[in-house]
Assembly symmetry: C2
Homo-oligomer: 401 residues x 2
């Protein structure tokens, strides 16, 4: 019998218990041993809950229980979750987590701690919810030099952008609706400002590179400036606006970025709508592969946590290696990166814009108070300088993929 | 130093050598040991080829070489490839293959043989080219009861259907063009009749179920009856025609089938065009995930072969388990399966069709010599009976997804 415990009986935590208990037969068969959730750590009580009797309030009850060998950390945050994860690993218990914030901040340290104590720290659920992406990067795409990882990794913002695209609604209205139906949190900052996506691409880039890419070093723009007008322009350009989290490496340059991009329908990410996530990986031999699925949600995320539990259960007493060192990689300054930009300026500043930007194509959808265009390929540096000179004349801009 | 050998220096074989040699640094780093291709087995000589001196004509040179521990079988076919694979496994050498025909026919036997000789038989490249799909099914989606696997797994037919859709061309013309530019073989039967797709879904279904689904037991219809007119109707219905290979399991029923289907744009497979492949996996907890990429091609397929080589190299002297027994599963008769059908009959038989089929909707695109409609949901059995009664009056039909 393999005894597991769950830290945090919230959405993903209760999903994790449900997956282990409801799919117990098939999971036990795959492990080759029966598995059980012996204890659930939470500050709250859950009177009437099916697993009420397994809830404990003291982490030490779990840490000191020699029968418990695997922990599912679904608390979130970097306070207690960090402390309890370290305690568990030091006690030789493997930890499987959905906590991207903790993984992005302390991943290599916790992997190293697991190695020292012959157990494992696994985090498939931290990126892309139920989509297998960490494991394919580590174990499947091993013949390739990975040139880029680029994805839609935040379900809330993708849901909002899809709504805005389909309904022509404004950002604030869609945000309110998303909050009302549970797709966005009361404080939506982490999602709409791109911080969540930034943490996830930091994790993916670190796994690809084998060293640490600090989340805070990644230039990040959210979707708060995207308006119903932008959606009209996107349609006119036969494109969709998507919040991309990207990492590219070439010629010793390593770029990472989170920002809204205008995608053509040739891009497989173009069709990824609503709360779905997808991550595109380009290898020098493989070409392009894409992994698609539910990027969030109770059971999808729990499915990924429990997938890690199965792997840990098959490797009890052993450390499952993960090539991610704590050495920090300095990203290349985005300024040398090149692309086209879609730009909207006030109609009264059109002549100024024409002088400042290399314009490839004007874009007209019937808003006579503004002048809008697509630039020729230019560097981020040149764009930034032109943008600064435009000052308040610039209404908005979106990068072109 | 890990010494590998390649059986068959054709497209995938030469790609495999290229991947191992050109990406040698990154691959050796991942293995933790230097890797080399010591010998290449082929009946032909390759004068002027970079690796000319490594070509041998006698399989025993490789089998008897104790330094060679991993074989890439990229010969294809079930004759010599089968014999040589057995010889290699019996000599304790792991075999990584792209040969779907051999895997579909002798997979469990070769896995068992590998187990007996403490080596491995790996076949990620046999389905979906470079797309990781076997490994995610075995190692990632382990928390779920897999309810269905459904994919576009044949690049040739998807390329042809995409051409027909975009250009309004007829089947025969597109086939000739595909043959001319190397996307279809001189004898295209295996692709256009669905045999290749059938082998691949047999492999995937067997991996999911852990027992053997015989490729020959899977009802299979190819794309030879699809015409430019069908494409017009598909557009009218806002759908695309795709050759799907599918496996579904529910309530002790196990269906498998290969046939053209009409997909809505809500289906993530709808956007999978040209030579791309994608496989959709539905789990009872995960929901829907999809794996997308190049389903064929020299380097993409070779990338998957070499991904297996890396895993074998990390597990030398050990058998990597694969849960696929030789016990044959009897599939449920498709007759009880239910869906809508799109049907075209001669205009003169319209009244007969109206009596025989439960018609939900007539579909008109301006061909007055025929009567076309979508049926209500009906069983395959009821459809087959009505179809037989229609006789020569039936022009074509396509299943609706």
């Amino acid at each position: 019998m393999i005894e597991a415990a769950v830290f945090g009986y919230g959405t993903v935590g209760s999903g994790t218990v449900e997956v282990i208990m409801d799919n117990n037969d098939v999971i036990s068969k795959r492990i080759g041993d029966k598995i059980n959730v012996k204890a659930i750590l939470d500050l709250r009580d859950f009177p009437g809950d099916k697993y009420e009797s397994r809830v404990v309030h003291d982490v030490n009850v779990i840490i000191d229980d020699p029968e418990i060998s695997i922990i599912c950390e679904t608390m979130g945050g970097v306070g207690a979750a960090y402390k309890f994860t370290k305690m568990a690993l030091e006690a030789g218990k493997s930890v499987c987590t959905s906590n991207k914030e903790l993984v992005a901040l302390h991943g290599p340290e916790l992997i190293e701690l697991a190695k020292e104590h012959n157990c494992s720290y696994k985090f498939e659920a931290s990126v892309g919810g139920g989509i297998p992406i960490i494991r394919p990067l580590e174990n499947a795409l091993t013949a390739d030099v990975i040139l880029s990882v680029c994805g839609i990794v935040n379900g809330t913002t993708n849901y909002m952008l899809t709504k805005m695209d389909k309904e022509g609604a404004e950002f604030d209205d869609v945000l309110k609706e998303a909050q009302a139906n549970g797709y966005a949190e009361a404080d939506p900052t982490a999602d709409i400002e791109g911080h969540d996506a930034r943490r996830k691409i930091a994790i993916l880039a670190s796994i690809v590179f084998g060293k640490t890419i600090n989340s805070e070093d990644i230039p990040t723009e959210g979707i708060t400036k995207i308006s119903a007008r932008d959606m009209k322009y996107a349609k006119q350009l036969s494109r969709k606006i998507k919040l991309l989290a990207r990492y590219e490496s070439s010629d010793n340059k390593r770029y990472a970025m989170v920002a809204p991009f205008l995608l053509t329908n040739e891009d497989p990410l173009y069709s990824v709508d609503d709360v779905f996530n997808a991550i595109k990986v380009t290898g020098n031999m493989l070409g392009e592969a894409m992994f698609y699925g539910r990027g969030a949600g109770k059971l999808a995320t729990a499915s990924a946590v429990v997938g890690d539990v199965v792997e840990c259960a098959k490797n009890l007493g052993k450390h499952i290696p993960c090539d991610w060192s704590s050495e920090v990689v300095t990203l290349t300054d985005m300024e040398s990166s090149e692309r086209k930009f879609f730009v909207r300026v006030g109609a009264e500043t059109a002549s100024e814009a024409k002088e400042l930007f290399p314009i490839e194509e004007e874009v007209k959808v019937g808003f006579y108070d503004e002048f809008s265009f697509v630039t020729k390929v230019m560097t981020e540096k040149a764009f930034k300088e032109a943008k600064e000179k435009m000052g308040a004349g610039m209404i908005n801009y979106i990068r072109m993929e």
